[in-house]
């Protein structure tokens, strides 16, 4: 019947040793009483709580003084702590300007770091909402072109490959799914049409992406005709009605039946914008072109997603599928595989978003570059703010030498002073933290818009508070350590007599910090200018056609078939359009690549593919492409079906001396032959940063095969009026189809959004970095001016002019900034040159950028410092010499 021994150990460990004997005695005695009264079990609990109650500040770690005659100097005595707070607040209030610069500067830096941190976190957590994140991958192939040893990857795979993977590699994969490319689809319910993004998967998708089914079950897609809707889509289409079992017509072509509703997939994932999922089997039975390719190994138009079995790692699966072509492909591919070194590999989900750009056939870079870039910027901005903070607090602290002297004289010991100054720095950092929360709270909306994100301050995240706390402690310690230990080591007699000489090198660390600060700022400025220049350069790139008032209508609805030409005719006749043309793909993208061409003098191993656009005779006139040689298609030449127009890149690749009149033949089935009738200037259809692909433009007489209508709006008609008229025309002819139009110039400018966003963010951060640096400089300059008040007064009395004094005070800072310019320029050049090489079509980094950035930094420095310098120089020497 004894109390638990570990509790006694606790008492021994934490309570003052002077009291151990009597307290433990009392505790045990009471335990004996209670055990008799309530039983041992309950007494143990009561004993436990009693011991816990003893662990309170009154007892904890306290040199117990009740029985000693003199009170000891107690570090945590409430009176002293109160005094420290009082002095700290008085100091903050007395020097309002410095306090503001200090706290606000640090808060801004922290806010920038915080926003960047949230952004980086959001980027890194992309796709992580899927439970099988580590097990999902996409199947890629990898071949080496025998001609030029170029290594390329292929993301699309033939349909039979999925079947073979499922049958022969079933022990490795839990799911192997063919995936159709996502797209906007018109969902028709009754007479209403809704446009939603959706995707078709083979069955198993619900389990693979761990979709949370709100209605229906994991088996909802077993019925091939079934489709599942996201919660928001179900709500917008069916309202509060139960959608299960409702029929939905897709693109006016075939019906699906709603068989389930899933919780919306988080926006930051590959399936982010997907609002319905259908069964690929059903798509195949309804889309003839997919059906035709069901057994074909030479048509690759779907992706394959796989999920490895639970006990199979990605590496094992990768090793298993590597030699797929040698082992399990049909014979003709087996033969070709060694020549092309063809292999399969799995691209795990964690690469999909962050490493979306491929090099030599493997995922290499992508958004991860920006994650790194911004992380570094964030860390540097934070560093700038911390440097400021340290600079100012150490500079200020020398003002407090007298206080230290007095405190020491009346009995403070060193550890108390250290604690005092560290505590003060914790206080200020804490204040800055709250200001930062305010800044972030106020700016997060704008930031989200700018960065196209939906982040918020994670108030309920343990990691957030942990990291914040560690960071605050680190900043406070770093900035507080120097004053704490330096000041507390002063000898009181010297300080109070006023003979203390702060060493000649006392300000050296401060100078170094200023240089670091400006180096970072200048690098950021140069970086921003280069990013902007690159975007500007790409935007000014000649695109080869006229985008203005060009509208595209995508005619997916089968009912368009017979009305296309009628519509064209009406648009032209009513003066709405000045030109109308059809093509099979938009001007702003490349959907079709064909290989297998032959021409005179072709290198037998040249296997590159061409982008192929099919169009009608008015296309050239509508988009106003520029014919360099030869002519456009024309109805006058009846034989234009066997003619082709090529772009300049293709002309260069074909390497024909005079391409007009030469022939291109297809080596594949059909053996068709086209005569080159014209060469046009390159049309920038894909990335504006890459070279234009070799393009062939072929005449297609059958308008039914051309799904895209390009309309050049009549320049005399206002755009809005033209659009309503086009809509009316379309509604009359094809009432079933929704009116979906795209401005070609808008679609083109979308190619720049990613870079523009990066540019804007970089600009914002550079501005903030410079601002923070200047705040620090401003504080430091005013401090130095104040320190030299007497000197300035004497100089003035002896006849120094204001210009002299201004030069005297500014010289040092200008020198520091010049040094940082020399450090920053090569660093910035190195990084920006690396960045810009990523783009094939890129601007050159010219010398004026460095000059401009340098001049900018110098001017800003001079403005900042001069304000203080001139203010100090203008003071009447009588005043400054009288003061004391």
């Amino acid at each position: 019947m004894k109390p638990p021994a570990w509790l006694d150990a606790l008492v021994k460990r934490f309570l003052p040793s002077e009291l151990y004997e009597e307290l433990l005695g009392d505790l045990h005695e009471q335990f004996a009483f209670q055990a008799e009264e309530f039983g041992v079990q309950k007494a143990r609990w009561m004993y436990f709580f009693e011991v816990i109650r003893f662990c309170r500040p009154y007892f904890l770690r306290r040199p117990f003084s009740a029985h000693s005659k003199y009170s000891t100097s107690y570090t945590y005595s409430p009176a002293m702590i109160r005094n420290y707070f009082k002095i700290a607040f008085r100091n903050l209030l007395k020097h309002k300007g410095y306090s503001f610069i200090n706290i606000f500067g640090l808060a801004t830096g922290m806010a920038v770091a915080m926003l960047i941190g949230l952004w980086v976190w959001d980027e890194l957590s992309y796709n992580k909402s899927f439970r099988n994140y580590d097990h999902i991958a996409q199947v890629y192939n990898h071949v080496t072109e025998p001609l030029d040893q170029k290594q390329v990857e292929g993301s699309s795979q033939p349909q039979p490959m999925a079947k073979v993977l499922r049958e022969k590699y079933g022990h490795i994969f839990k799911h192997v799914l063919l995936v159709q490319w996502e797209g906007e689809t018109t969902l028709g319910v009754g007479n209403d049409n809704y446009i939603k993004r959706g995707q078709f998967f083979e069955n198993g998708v619900i389990d693979m992406f761990s979709l949370k089914m709100l209605k229906g079950s994991k088996e909802s897609l077993n019925d091939s005709q079934g489709m599942i809707l996201s919660e928001s889509a179900a709500k917008s289409i069916f309202g509060d009605k139960d959608p299960i079992g409702e029929a939905v017509k897709l693109d006016n072509k075939f019906y699906c039946k709603v068989s389930g509703v899933y919780e919306d997939i988080p926006q930051n994932s590959t399936l982010g914008g997907i609002h319905f999922i259908g069964n690929f089997e059903y798509l195949r039975t309804n889309e003839k072109w997919i059906k035709n390719n069901e057994e074909r190994w030479d048509a690759s138009s779907q992706r394959i997603f796989v999920q490895t079995a639970d006990n199979v790692t990605m590496e094992q699966a990768n090793a298993a599928v590597r030699d797929f072509y040698l082992k399990d492909a049909p014979d003709n591919l087996k033969e070709l595989a060694p020549k092309y070194k063809a292999i399969l590999y799995l691209n795990p989900m964690k690469n999909w978003y962050l490493y979306s750009e491929f090099k030599d056939g493997y995922p290499a870079t992508g958004r991860i570059t920006f994650v790194w870039l911004f992380s570094i910027v964030g860390i540097f901005v934070l560093l700038l703010a911390c440097i400021n903070f340290m600079n100012l607090s150490t500079a200020r602290s020398e003002k407090r030498a007298k206080e230290v002297g007095i405190r020491k004289a009346v009995g403070s010991i060193k550890s108390q002073l250290v604690n005092q100054f560290l505590g003060e720095s914790f206080l200020v950092v804490g204040l800055a933290f709250f200001v930062m929360l305010g800044i972030v709270g106020a700016s997060i909306g704008g930031f989200n818009e700018l960065a196209d994100k939906q982040v918020s301050i994670p108030f309920f995240n343990v990691y957030f508070w942990g990291i914040s706390f560690i960071f605050l402690a680190a900043t406070a310690l770093l900035s507080g350590l120097y004053p704490a230990f330096y000041l507390s080591s002063f000898e009181p007699v010297k300080v109070l007599k006023g003979t203390i000489r702060l060493g000649k090198y006392a300000s050296l660390p401060r100078r170094v910090l200023v240089v670091v600060q400006f180096t970072v700022s200048v690098v950021l400025i140069i970086g921003t200018i280069v990013v902007y220049q690159q975007i500007q350069y790409a935007q000014n790139r000649p695109v080869g056609y006229d985008r203005s008032s060009l509208v595209r209508i995508s005619m997916d609805d089968p009912n368009f078939e017979n009305s296309k030409l009628v519509m064209k005719d009406q648009l032209l006749r009513n003066g709405i359009a000045s030109n109308v043309a059809f093509s099979n793909m938009p001007v702003t993208s490349v959907w079709d690549n064909w290989g297998g061409f032959d021409w005179k003098g072709k290198n037998p191993d040249a296997e590159s593919s061409f982008s192929v656009t099919q169009l009608d005779e008015d296309f050239g006139a509508t988009i106003q492409w520029k014919v360099k040689q030869g002519r456009n298609f024309s109805k006058e030449f009846g034989m234009d079906t066997a003619a082709v127009i090529i772009n300049e890149s293709a002309a260069k690749y074909l390497a024909l001396k005079n391409p007009i009149g030469e022939y291109i033949t297809s080596t594949g089935d059909g053996k068709r032959r086209w005569q080159i009738i014209g060469v046009i200037e390159d049309l920038v259809a894909e990335s504006p940063y890459e070279p234009v692909k070799m393009g062939l433009y072929m005449f297609q007489r059958n308008v039914r095969a051309l799904g895209q209508m390009q309309i050049k709006i009549n320049p005399n008609l206002p755009m809005s009026e033209a659009l309503t008229k086009i809509e009316a025309t379309q509604k009359k002819l094809v009432p079933s189809a929704p009116f979906r139009y795209f401005f070609v110039d808008e679609e083109y400018s979308k190619k720049f959004t990613a870079e523009q966003r990066i540019g804007k963010l970089a600009f914002l951060f550079a501005i903030l970095a410079i601002m923070i640096s200047c705040l620090g400089l401003f504080g430091l300059a005013s401090f130095i001016a104040e320190q030299r008040t007497k000197e300035i007064g004497i100089r003035k009395v002896l006849g120094a002019s204001i210009t002299n004094l201004w030069g005297l005070l500014s010289k040092e800072f200008v020198l520091l900034v010049v040094i940082s310019l020399f450090i920053a320029s090569p660093v910035a050049y190195y990084f920006m040159n690396n960045w810009i090489q990523k783009y094939s079509y890129h601007t050159a980094i010219s010398w004026w950028i460095f000059v401009a950035a340098g001049a900018g930094a110098l001017i800003i420095t001079l403005l900042t410092v001069s304000f203080q310098a001139i203010k100090a120089a203008l003071v009447n020497p009588v005043k400054s010499l009288k003061s004391e």
Binding site: E22, D26, L27, H28, E29, Q30, R53, H67
Partner: protein, 109 residues
């Protein structure tokens, strides 16, 4: 600064020390208080803190008793009320009595 402040619980503990005269230490004080106050939960740590505070303020003095065979041979710290303590209690009682007397009687009927 005037007289040291005496909290409600401290006053009770001080009174108990006076009542127990000579046998007052942590456990007995806690038990006495508990019994007199209808089994209100009295924590030992609270009693101890009150005792040490009273000692710092000079209302009680303490000494360690001799070792006995109970409680593992650990000594007890006995507390005695000082003259200052007695006087303070008396003053407080007087103030209270005067206040009680000053209450108009009818309001209690």
């Amino acid at each position: 600064m005037g007289r040291s402040y005496l909290g409600e619980f401290e006053e009770l503990v001080l009174l108990t020390v006076a009542v127990l005269e000579g046998t007052a230490y942590g456990v007995t004080i806690a038990a006495e208080l508990k019994q007199r106050m209808n089994n209100r939960l009295i924590s030992l740590s609270g009693v101890h803190i009150a005792l040490y505070r009273l000692e710092e303020k000079g209302f009680v003095v303490s000494e360690l008793g001799g070792a006995t065979s109970e409680r593992g041979g650990r000594r007890k710290r006995f507390f005695r009320i000082t003259a200052l303590g007695k006087r303070t209690l008396a003053e407080m009682r007087q103030v209270r009595n005067e206040l009680w007397d000053a209450i108009p009687t009818p309001s209690f009927s």
